[in-house]
């Protein structure tokens, strides 16, 4: 270099500047993933090598040459997945490189070539960055900050962002903020980062205006504008602060007891409702004390715990430790000394420990009483919350006798069916099973039980208890049906069916000749079998009035093999039903009608959409008596499995 003439030196510096600009552009492409990674990294390696070769013309002790050598070593690290740490490592030499350029050398700003793979805005930004770098106006981290912010903005425009994805992007922001030279701006950046996290994951707790203000301030920070000092939140209301202090002390006392148990459980403990409720209140207590920022962060803690509660996810050891570590946020005396950066670190850790969204595979479920269009899972709770008007209005008098109940039974049963399906969809199994039991009771009652045994008090207790369970489910408690009442209801149902079947018929005809008796006997048959195989199957029988007593008498025995087959098939259906958020209990509708060649039988297994296997079908056909003819089955989507056959009663 010493022997080179000034013209050659200027040419070398221009070539170095050109190569460096290319490196920066390609680094930007890699970080923004604006092309296939192998191609981008290949191009970057080539340009990096060229830069290194050019720098070799500089004297060995030249700082610029040393920095380029260091940069050349770091470039392959871009291939590693931990982009954040790469950025961190890469930005330092890049920044030093810019510092090392001779101040007297007058370089032309890069002449960016038009590339379709990079948006012009980014090129302009890089060119601007280059100019300002040369004037030493812009810390080098701001370009990367801008890139991450743009990624965040794109992700937000695409819809809800998973906490893990937010954590990944915000972690990069936090790392880049460490390069901010001004401590005040760095602190402000961390504060903005926390606001951004809350705005993204709990937008309902931040006013739209504040969310926009947050984004605006981020862009201002990236552009290098000074942000105004944030005012310290103070509360001078002594009486209120005393209440806050009392609530926080109570919170910490209960939390410490819980943490002690959770630590002992070593990651195998579920969240308790008590701790969930404590975190439900906490943001509002902090808000009252003027701690808006902490209050918003506590909203995130609450949401995270709520996800654990809903999905029944065990509390990991890391989350328990984080809960313990962040207790000092609730110490009034330490509020002034809280470090924004450490709070941000804890917040990002919380986002990383957030459970993934549940039921991603099953997005919709069919519900009875609606159109055939299935309902999205997210839409089920609002739908259920406003659908149970009859259930909420039911009174003791409705259950006084069979006639009174019959007046209300249709809407009541319709709501119970909706509840059964809705509870299954939301996997509130206790409510679902209890509801299935009540539906079985209503089925039995519809078949006619003599007035002397009408269980008025029991039915009222059963329905009142259902409301209690619904209140608990609506308040995120864990509804548990009263085991004694459940047993009592099951015993009543069984005994009522048995006694009804063995009762002498009111007319002097054989027992199996009336439609009611046939229905009772078939229901009892299915019920007993279902209990034996521990499956819930409800049989609803509809007999056409045209059928003669002789025809009815001939129906019971031939139908039993088909009903047995259907009940046993439920063993295989159970898992499928659970996976598709459908109730464990199956409703089987049996319709008997008069046909020209015998009794037309139609059976519908609601919610079963699986074709039975051929071998099982062959076995069934062998077992059916000769009088059962033309057995056919088909699947009707969103309804279930249909069976048809004809019983020849000659």
């Amino acid at each position: 270099m010493k022997s080179a003439d000034p013209h050659t030196t200027a040419q070398l510096w221009a070539a170095l500047a050109g190569a460096l600009e290319q490196v920066l552009q390609q680094v930007s492409h890699v970080l923004r993933q604006s092309g296939t990674r192998p191609r981008l990294t290949g191009e970057l390696a080539l340009t990096g090598a060229r830069l290194c070769q050019l720098a070799a013309f500089l004297p060995a002790d030249d700082t610029f040459r040393q920095q380029i050598a260091l940069l050349h070593k770091l470039l392959p690290a871009l291939l590693q997945p931990q982009e954040t740490s790469v950025q961190q490592r890469l930005l330092v030499p890049l920044w030093k490189l810019a510092q090392a350029l001779p101040p007297t050398a007058e370089h032309e700003p890069p002449q960016w070539r038009s590339r379709t793979s990079a948006p012009p805005g980014v090129l302009q930004l890089l060119a601007d960055w280059w100019r300002r770098q040369q004037r030493n106006e812009l810390p080098s981290n701001r370009l990367a900050l801008h890139g991450v912010l743009q990624q965040l903005a794109v992700a937000v425009r695409g819809g809800a962002v998973e906490p893990a994805a937010v954590a990944s992007l915000l972690t990069r922001l936090q790392v880049l903020l460490r390069f901010e030279r001004d401590a005040g701006q760095r602190e402000h950046g961390n504060r903005l980062l926390q606001q951004l996290a809350v705005g993204l994951l709990a937008p309902d707790v931040v006013a739209a205006e504040s969310r926009m203000q947050c984004w605006l301030q981020w862009w201002q920070l990236v552009q290098g504008h000074s942000l105004p000092e944030s005012g310290q939140d103070n509360c001078n209301d002594f009486e209120l602060l005393q209440c806050v202090q009392a609530d926080l002390s109570n919170h910490l006392r209960l939390l410490q007891t819980f943490l002690h148990r959770a630590r002992a459980a070593q990651g195998s403990m579920l969240l308790s409702h008590e701790i969930l409720v404590l975190h439900y209140r906490l943001p509002w207590v902090l808000e009252a004390a003027g701690q808006h920022q902490l209050s918003q962060l506590m909203h995130l803690w609450y949401r995270c715990l709520l996800q654990h509660w809903h999905q029944r996810v065990m509390l990991s050891t890391a989350l328990v430790e984080l809960l313990a570590d962040t207790q000092h946020w609730l110490d009034i005396t330490r509020w002034r000394s809280l470090q924004y950066e450490s709070v941000t670190t804890a917040l990002l850790q919380l986002l990383r420990l957030w459970p993934a969204s549940a039921a991603a595979g099953v997005m919709t479920v069919p519900l009875p009483g609606r159109s055939r269009a299935p309902v999205p899972l997210a839409g089920i709770p609002p739908l259920l919350a406003q659908s149970f008007v009859t259930l909420n209005r039911c009174r003791t008098a409705w259950f006084a006798d069979a006639n009174t109940l019959a007046q209300h039974q249709t809407p009541l049963v319709a709501e119970l069916r909706l509840l059964e399906q809705g509870a299954a969809a939301m996997k509130v199994q206790a409510v679902e099973h209890y509801c299935s039991l009540l539906l079985s009771l209503h089925t039995a009652l519809a078949l006619g039980v003599s007035a002397a045994r009408f269980p008025a008090a029991l039915l009222w207790r059963a329905h009142a208890h259902l409301l209690e369970l619904l209140d608990e489910a609506a308040a995120w408690q864990d509804p548990q049906p009263d085991a004694t009442l459940v047993l009592e209801l099951m015993q009543w149902q069984q005994s009522a069916l048995r006694s009804a079947v063995t009762e002498p018929a009111p007319k002097a005809l054989p027992a199996t000749t009336s439609a009611e008796t046939l229905a009772l006997r078939l229901v009892l048959f299915v019920d007993t079998l279902a209990q034996t195989v521990e499956q819930a199957v409800r049989l609803c029988v509809d007999v056409a009035p045209q059928l003669t007593a002789e025809q009815l008498a001939a129906c019971e025995i031939p139908l039993q093999p088909l009903l047995r087959f259907i009940v046993l098939q439920q063993l295989q259906e159970a898992t499928l039903r659970r996976q598709s958020h459908r109730p464990a209990a199956t409703t089987v509708a049996l319709m008997l009608a008069a046909g020209h060649d015998g009794v037309q039988v139609e059976l519908v297994e609601h919610g079963c959409e699986r074709t039975p296997d051929a071998q099982a079908l062959r076995r069934l056909r062998r077992r059916l008596p000769d009088c059962v003819r033309q057995l056919q089955h088909r699947i009707e989507p969103a309804v279930g499995r249909h069976w048809r056959c004809v019983l020849c009663c000659d």
Binding site: V277, R281, W284, P382, A385, Q386, D471, A475
Partner: protein
């Protein structure tokens, strides 16, 4: 002055609600629900029930109040769920207030207080 009852075991929230109600002309008592024996000797004009509490279910409390007193029943929720509005009304609430709410929003849900 008409009596307003606040059922909330969170001291801070209860105090804030008490202040709002007092400013609207009510005589306010903060009561722990498990210490109550209903019906009360003096019928309240307004009862404010917080949805969640320690071993407490706001919906069940609403039904309990409904059985014993005919008054304005407010359910206060901070869950952010719209489902609370529908289920709260079915459980007996006159209105459901979602936090944060202003004094004006509270006043809209309450019967007017006649000046003494």
């Amino acid at each position: 002055m008409p009596l307003a009852i606040v059922c909330d075991d969170c001291a801070t929230q209860a105090l804030l609600l008490t202040r709002m109600l007092a400013a609207l002309g009510y005589r306010v008592q903060i009561l722990a629900f498990d210490q109550l024996t209903l019906p009360l000797a003096e019928a309240p004009a307004v009862v404010c029930v917080e949805l969640f509490g320690a071993n407490r279910n706001g919906f069940k409390q609403l039904r309990h109040w409904c059985r014993h007193h005919e008054c304005t029943l407010l359910l206060v929720s901070a869950s952010g769920r719209r489902t609370d509005d529908a289920w709260g009304v079915l459980a007996g609430a006159t209105a459901v207030l979602q936090r944060p709410f202003s004094a004006a929003q509270l006043a809209e849900c309450l019967p007017p207080v006649c000046p003494a």
